[in-house]
């Protein structure tokens, strides 16, 4: 019983690391650009397909293809922000929600047309390996994914707190008008933030590939998880999103273990609704807006 519990917590924590990469991206865009990117999951999906094609055509290891998926998605993000998202900033909820929502629908269905609905998998030498800790086992691929996800989150945190551009980003997030007066170009900052968020999604895609199949709809679960994590972790708060993601990974895994295989999502959604009922401002406090 205790071992099952510990095993479920390990599994949940490991996948929670991936959720964190997606959530941090969503919360970064929300915090800086002030929009919710409904298409964030689709960029995880794109990262997965990039990794899949590099692996199947050129035999490149998913971890090596991080070197492709991260920069490609960074550029895609910066361009998207510059040419598309920018046009709806300050226009109210409807255009902002439905532009990224339409983008999500578009990417999913274009992927469906190009790649069909088939599940694509990449098998690596470490896909089936696991480390045994007494009665518990830790899958190596998930452990690597978790460790790198935490490393990328750490790098983002350092970038936000230790570099001029990162500080400019946080300044623009707090008060875009004053930031502009201080000589910060908000559009450049927004493009970098959007790019960085998508780069994280791309990294999540590559990290998932050794143990998770790619499909056009693969991003949906991750974006739903990210939304819940961002609400739980107080909107726009990077550390909050990270902690909430790990908690949700664990909650989902416990749900699967103790309620039923198809109950993972119920547990997560119920967590969201309960949080709204009890503490509408998120676990860390702040404004529910």
């Amino acid at each position: 019983m205790l071992e099952t519990l510990a095993q479920a917590v390990i599994n949940g924590l490991l996948i929670g690391g991936i959720y964190a990469l997606v959530s941090i991206g969503v919360t970064l865009i929300f915090g800086v650009v002030k929009i919710v990117n409904f298409a964030q999951g689709e960029f995880v999906m794109i990262g997965m397909y990039i990794t899949f094609f590099l692996a199947s055509r050129f035999g490149i290891d998913p971890l090596v293809s991080l070197g492709v998926s991260i920069p490609v998605l960074f550029v895609v993000g910066a361009l998207l922000q510059h040419f598309l998202i920018r046009r709806v900033l300050g226009l109210g909820d409807m255009p902002q929600i439905f532009l990224t929502f339409a983008l999500s629908l578009l990417l999913m269905n274009v992927a469906l047309l190009l790649f069909t609905a088939n599940y694509r998998t990449v098998h690596t030498a470490y896909s089936d390996e696991s480390i045994h800790l007494g009665a518990l086992y830790v899958p190596v691929a998930k452990l690597i994914a978790f460790a790198l996800a935490m490393a990328f989150s750490g790098i983002l945190w350092l970038f936000l707190h230790a570099t001029d551009l990162g500080k400019a980003m946080r300044a623009a997030a707090q008060n875009p008008d004053v930031a502009m007066l201080m000589g910060i170009n908000p559009h450049r900052v927004f493009a970098v933030a959007f790019g960085a968020a998508l780069a994280l999604a791309g990294a999540a895609g590559s990290l998932l590939m050794p143990f998770y199949p790619a499909s056009p709809m693969a991003g949906q679960v991750f974006v739903l998880m990210a939304f819940v994590a961002v609400v739980l972790g107080t909107l726009g708060n990077v550390t909050g999103a990270l902690i909430a993601s790990l908690m949700m990974g664990i909650a989902e895994s416990l749900g699967i273990q103790f309620v039923g295989a198809d109950s993972g999502l119920i547990v997560v959604f119920v967590m969201l609704l309960l949080t709204l009922a009890i503490r509408p401002t998120g676990l860390a406090g702040g404004r529910a807006r």
């Binding site: 046009r87 409807m94 439905f98 532009l99 109950s263």
Partner: protein, 334 residues
């Protein structure tokens, strides 16, 4: 001829056309498309009451569609109650369900309200997958066929379904028209423009939002009952389909959010596009259809966020008036 006369003339002509349409077009494929247009226009109208006028952008209206569908089906199969009564019962169930759901989701605003509504519809779908004993679980069930039984909302000819759907749409439009021209309509628009400002001038925003959510949920549930009666099948994936939530919002936005006829115009455009794609491409149209829908949506948001209805009324006004229209419809942009 004054504008008012013209409006009545158009409305009369339109009514006459939609009433005789099934007599002129007897092709089953075409009638099926007309029924889909009427049904989705009705769902769009129901969504638009809350999403359009009050700008509470729900992406979870499938919750009420599904509750309506399941209520009438359970009442019919388990208790032999006519879906006509079941339809009203479903509406009431949806209204009651909208109270706790609204209580939770209205704590959030804007995009996070939309996300919370997605979660509620998903939770209901996942729950109905679990309710194997009284709601048939994931396999769903077919609706017993009584042949030509108007009292059980079952008809031999498709044109009867057409008139039922037309009646629903007319109901939705009349309710919208009445609300639009009442104090509630003005309160809704005020909330849609700026909720805090509306509250500051004494609009009881939580109560208005709760009330309009109840009306919107009730109407959406009627559509759910009609739909399962029409396709003779129900399962959680159909009844709580995310596509229902999406299409409800999409037709309203493409047509014109917060306008009486917007959802109707949007549905005619989108469903006609979809039907044409389907006849050209056959079964591969699934991905193509949503690709085209999303491109239309992006185009509308970037170039005409007030919806395509405005484009048509501009053209119409140019044709009927010598002078170009004044900037009055800027109000629609919100």
């Amino acid at each position: 001829m004054t504008d008012k006369h013209r409006t009545w003339l158009w409305l009369g002509a339109l009514t006459a056309i939609v009433l005789v349409l099934p007599l002129l077009v007897t092709n089953r494929f075409a009638t099926d498309i007309f029924i889909r247009i009427l049904l989705f226009a009705f769902i769009g109208v129901a969504w638009n009451l809350m999403g359009g006028y009050a700008k509470q952008l729900s992406l979870g209206h499938a919750a009420y569609f599904g509750l309506g569908a399941y209520t009438s089906t359970i009442l019919e199969i388990r208790f032999g109650i006519s879906p006509w009564l079941g339809m009203v019962a479903g509406g009431v169930v949806a209204m009651l369900a909208s109270l706790p759901i609204g209580w939770l989701c209205f704590r959030l605003r804007g995009p996070y309200f939309a996300i919370a509504t997605i979660a509620t519809a998903q939770v209901l779908m996942l729950l109905f997958l679990k309710f194997r004993d009284f709601a048939w679980g994931a396999e769903g069930t077919t609706i017993p066929n009584f042949g030509d039984a108007p009292l059980m909302m079952q008809f031999d000819d498709k044109s009867s379904y057409y008139y039922v759907a037309l009646g629903l749409l007319a109901l939705g439009l009349i309710i919208t028209y009445r609300i639009e021209h009442s104090w509630m309509g003005y309160y809704l628009v005020a909330i849609g423009e700026d909720e805090d400002a509306a509250e500051a001038v004494g609009v009881n925003a939580p109560r208005i939002k709760r009330d309009i959510y109840m009306i919107s949920a009730f109407l959406t549930a009627l559509a759910g009952t009609f739909y399962v009666q029409y396709i003779y099948f129900i399962d959680p994936a159909t009844a709580f389909s995310f596509n229902i939530s999406v299409e409800a919002a999409l037709v309203s936005i493409v047509g014109g959010i917060g306008t009486l006829w917007g959802p109707v115009v949007g549905t005619v455009l989108l469903e006609t596009t979809s039907a044409l794609l389907q006849s050209w491409l056959g079964s591969s149209a699934g991905g193509v259809q949503l690709t085209v829908y999303s491109l239309i949506l992006i185009a509308v948001i970037l170039w005409r966020p007030s919806g395509l209805l405005g484009v048509f009324s501009d053209v119409y006004r140019r044709m009927t008036r010598a002078r170009p229209p004044r900037a009055e419809e800027a109000l629609l942009d919100g």
